[in-house]
Amino acid sequence: MRPFDYERATDVAQAVTLVAERPEARFLGGGTNLVDLVRRGVETPDRLIDVTGLPLTEVEATQDGGVRVGAVVTNADLAHHPLVRSHYPLLSQAVLAGASGQLRTMATVGGNLLQRTRCPYFTDLTMACNKRVPGSGCAAREGFTRYAAVLGTSEQCIAAHASDMAVALAALDARVELTSAHRVREVAVTDLYRLPGETPHLETVVSRGELITAVVLPPPPRGPSRYRKVRDRASYAFALVSVAAVLGVEDGRVTTLRLGLGGIAPKPWRAAAAETLLVGSEPTDEAFSAAIDLELVDAKPLPGNAFKIDLTRRTVVAVLRRLRDEAVTT
């Protein structure tokens, strides 16, 4: 592994200053992704700023009935927290669907949001990858695409975002607090990420010297919710397709729908077109199917991942059908 300096930050101001001093510096959370990437030579930081000692470890109820999650809360502590389990079971389910017990103990909320893609060509230094080396090409497009995205891709990049947690956060309208030396700002989780376009190496709107300091959840939406993840083995694997959904039904009509999709896009995907079509409609299987078809109309599947179109449709319909039945009986 290439050598680097290590500093353990004790307050946010110090952390953002330390990282701003060096262009190759990186914040270090639990290390479950970054340490691996540094070992492989994909990331080449000259300094790591450990942020896990920062006082950002609380999960707290907010005045408006939401929850504020400190950025270095671990995935395990988030998923196991009573407030999250009772008010945002969707989020607990999504976090628990990701990685393993050991990795969830280490991984942080901020690090989870900023994890890199698991596209195998991104982590293989011998392969062309526009995300790793801009302009070098995309070996994935002609290669193994089973885990690649079908929505939001570009000619330059088809890598999918790997986070389960972020898919649930997108469905829950969560916002991300970013702190720099000069300001604190909030962006919606769905706006945190850029689509690859011509610049797949630019993945987020986070500027150098900005640190994710919290994730802020508004009050939970009304209605039953569910995170369902479809993968090649029953546990401890990345998603082929995942669905985070909240469905409210009153008087035979859909009143609320939050639909997040994972495994099929370069960012946690909020299915806004499907939501708009379904709200106000009768919650029939046909309506669910028509809504997800509309969301997928711009999908650009490749031979190796075309199965994801039908898999996404079937998973969304199955989840919404279950939630409809729960909504009607409760």
Binding site: E24, V35, D46, S86, Q93, L96, S100, T105, M106
Partner: protein, 174 residues
């Protein structure tokens, strides 16, 4: 690759390993796994994939399970690390023997450390991905054990014995 700003520098890192306060002189890039195996010569903790995928390097830090291959030792300054050498005697060790929870044994130290951490999580009421209602405590069924132990691979395929061993101890020991 950019040029190095400075040559690598070892620094003191203080760990309490299996109850013993220890000071290591190591570079920041040394993983906790390599610190344990190569510097402290505690070779019970195994290096399998070295990329967080197999769980063979699982240890406990302040009683919670982590994979030591993706941990930089310097991140764990002042913390209590427990390796397989420090867990015993533990009823899970006997149970793994009794229920044939191993064949070659390479994954076993990680399996046992992971199971200890897992049982502590379960005793604390933690749900899992197969818990139907995450808001309520889940009974430690075989399905729950399999899900909660999915971060530990066994290439010999001794999974049935591993589940039997953990099931025999689960609920009786933290």
């Amino acid at each position: 690759m950019t040029d190095l700003v400075a040559p690598p520098v070892a620094r003191p890192v203080h760990l309490v390993v299996n109850g013993v306060p220890t000071t290591l002189e190591i570079e920041p890039r040394v993983s906790l796994l390599d610190a344990i195996r190569e510097h402290l010569h505690l070779t019970g903790t195994k290096k399998g994939c070295n990329q967080g995928a197999c769980g063979a390097c699982t240890v406990l830090v302040d009683g919670r399970r982590i994979v030591s291959c993706l941990a930089l030792a310097v991140q764990y300054e002042g913390r209590e690390v427990t390796t397989i050498e420090g867990v015993g005697p533990h009823p899970l060790q006997d149970a793994f023997v009794r229920f044939d929870g191993l064949q070659c044994g390479y994954c076993t130290p990680g399996q046992i450390c992971s199971a200890i951490g897992m049982l502590t999580e379960h005793d604390g009421g933690a749900p899992s991905a197969v818990s139907d209602d995450v808001a309520s405590p889940a009974a430690l069924t075989r399905n729950e054990i399999r899900e909660r132990m999915s971060g530990n691979l066994c290439r010999c395929g001794a999974y049935n014995g591993i589940v039997d061993a953990i099931e025999s101890v689960g609920g009786k020991s933290g």
